[in-house]
Subunit: 192 residues, 2 copies
């Protein structure tokens, strides 16, 4: 996706050989117009797969999930929580995702009532690296006896195994931009 590629190359920063810092438009400050364009692009790609809800994880996935859901006809979004709260139901689907960014394990939780069996679920997230979050969300969708319509990602780190593993497993995956490598602070993107 051209607008996202441009934002990554012009504003993003490569740190070390692993970190793609895009928090100036994607996951701390949000470039609202770009987020909407990304949501529209994901919606256009997955419309044929007829998702009837979007599943993501707090916090950075919410904005892209919401705009994708909007352009898919205002279908609902469910976002998995990372921490328990006093107002949550005890009746949750859970799956563990290790976060390499935060250096910890997160137990993702979704209230069972919000994932009706048979729903066609589109998983959306801002990043795909080792695939931990995506696998956890797919596991939750499977526990709920939902159908996986696809996985839509803003930025895939192509040099980490998550994307390859999902494609090899036959998952309908669309990444709006794929980072091929980071060298000397310079981010190199795969061709569209």
């Amino acid at each position: 996706m051209e607008a996202l590629r441009k934002a990554i190359l012009e504003q993003g920063k490569g740190i070390g050989d692993n970190i793609v810092k895009v928090d100036m438009f994607l996951n701390h400050r949000l470039d609202t117009g770009l987020i909407f364009d990304m949501g529209r692009e994901l919606a256009d790609y997955f419309r044929k797969d007829a998702p009837d809800l979007v599943l993501t994880v707090e916090a950075s996935g919410i904005a892209i999930a919401l705009t994708a859901a909007h352009f898919l006809g205002d279908i609902p979004v469910v976002f998995a929580k990372k921490a328990g709260t006093s107002t949550q139901s005890a009746d949750m689907y859970t799956a563990v995702a290790h976060s390499f960014t935060h250096g910890n394990d997160n137990t993702l939780r979704v209230d069972r009532r919000y994932l009706p069996a048979g729903s066609r679920v589109l998983v959306v997230d801002d990043f795909l690296a080792d695939g931990q979050a995506s696998h956890a969300l797919i596991s939750i969708a499977e526990q709920a006896k939902c159908v996986l319509a696809g996985v839509g990602i803003a930025v895939e780190k192509g040099f980490q195994p998550g994307g390859r593993q999902l494609r090899e497993a036959g998952v309908n995956l669309k990444s709006l931009a794929i980072v091929e490598s980071i060298e000397d602070g310079k981010i190199k993107l795969a061709e569209d």
Copy 2:
């Protein structure tokens, strides 16, 4: 706001005399159409105050903040983080907010680069109860020498002091719905 009032009264649940459970449309599952209507309503209210960025806090504030920002002309959103990560800048504005829901203190953090001095900041959040999160966001805006354009809230708990304190301090506050009381599981709303 009529659509939000209807959703609270028909779907929301009162728990004890304090908890307004609306996670079936506002902060776990998102009713996408309703979230967009809420963002439009906040944008219409605050347009005269000419905000040029929306400031919120992860995770539940993001959806409403993004839609409000969209209807204000795709102005940027900045969401405060609750936890440090390996990719964050060390150069952050911080403010502490106690969460009565989670029973802990959160240090909200915003990268200094994303709050330019002189910006007209609209603070948006899903809930206003004791006002801890709003006060922390206002403090961060003040630290950044921004101008507070207003505070837009989805659901205010009118029986807790946050809203009253902000109004008495002269803050331009708009709550889309105000819960007056919870009795025997029944939520009572203030008149619009």
